[in-house]
Symmetry: C2
Subunit: 235 residues, 2 copies
């Protein structure tokens, strides 16, 4: 038996109720048992709530949600029934511009943060100030994707971590050069964290501990992960 | 401090060199310290090698690879330079039909398994026979995706686990009914496992321990995850 590298992923309780103006860094520092080198994964929902990114919505019917989603979009890519697939100002392609009516009070909708990478950087700085620990931050949301059923969590913002790790020029196990393997580690981290958060369990923060040191550094989702319009084969 | 559910993800060493005819279940039973309820994540590469899904390739130049990829496809969706995005017989949409020249001897290419769900079921049965443990299996490959840079690992086959877990009808943390949240847990598991496998480290097996009991059951990637052609908005 020979165990290789290992990761621990755990949820953090006590952060279920977040309101506009709450100091998320202080709350996470209070509730999460952190160590240096941890990645703190935070769902978009509580970041948006703390930042006051909620709006009144006249009714919770699908057409009001769709109208709000279209107002948050720079481009509508597909429509089917009540679903719109849009491109947001950040460049994310997702259902309904990320506008969400679940886990929020009746009559309100939650929008995506204005600049999720900056939100992540603020959280990282806030945790450093409070705990003196260097941790990385990944802010996540739940997106569908073409060709495959089911949603998965992906990163919409990050700080202190390289969003895409480029293995070009390194060698595979047989010594042959890998031509192009750029791994989107922040999306993989988002998915790993969702396995302990679940959708209905109200656990909006998780910690991923034990990642390879090579992943830490500068990174941003909007710059490194969002594929520019002209580079994309499916838009 | 209040820690919620936790997961352990660890890589398994000693399975780097797999050849046609090798008994993968026996090798995994020998090398992996398994417990009941574990998910054993296995990269496509060693499953294909064990099953003899390798072919001679005249040269390792891009055009020979592209020709092989097209011969493995039922549909070519996009071409750009040496890259072809294809739909495979299984219904996967990926680069080069999953044909791979890395981590394989010069002059050979590795194809996807004929039926990765069946491969997973065989592995599950083989591990049950050898260890008397019920474990789930996820077979993974590395796919790109539209709109987002960087690759992530996804599931191409599974056994003993529900591929997509439907949270419709359950309630969110505020008691409001969740309308449609079908989470593709096998893809999230694949991504979590890749974080300990890496692309260049030659660790083709990982174990994910501690998943919610609700995810275990019957599931298949080709039936549950592959989105039928007519249902897809982007094909």
């Amino acid at each position: 038996m020979a165990v290789g590298e290992s990761l621990l992923v755990f949820g953090v309780k006590g952060l279920e109720e977040i309101n506009s103006g709450d100091d998320l860094a202080a709350l996470i520092a209070e509730h999460a048992p952190l160590s240096a080198g941890d990645v703190v994964v935070v769902t978009q929902k509580i970041v948006s709530k703390a930042e006051g990114r909620t709006v009144r919505i006249a009714s919770s019917d699908a057409s009001a949600k769709r109208a709000l989603a279209e107002s948050e979009a720079v481009r509508v890519l597909r429509r089917r029934g009540d679903l719109v697939v849009t491109e947001t100002r950040h460049g994310f392609v997702c259902a309904n511009s990320g506008v969400d009516l679940s886990n929020v009070a009746e009559g309100w909708a939650v929008l995506l943060p204005e600049d999720p990478d900056r939100s992540a950087q603020r959280l990282r700085d806030g945790l450093k100030a409070r705990t003196d620990l260097d941790v990385a931050i990944v802010i996540t949301d739940t997106f569908g994707r073409p060709w495959r059923r089911g949603v998965t969590d992906v990163a919409i913002g990050c700080a202190g971590i390289r969003a895409v790790v480029d293995l070009r020029g390194t060698r595979d196990a047989l010594g042959r050069e890998l031509v192009a393997t750029e791994v989107c580690v922040v999306d993989e981290i988002a998915s790993a964290a969702d396995l302990v958060m679940g959708k209905a369990r109200g656990i909006p923060v998780a910690v991923v501990r034990g990642l390879d040191a090579a992943v830490f550094g500068q990174g941003a989702v909007t710059e490194d992960v969002v594929r520019p319009y002209g580079e994309d084969l499916f838009r």
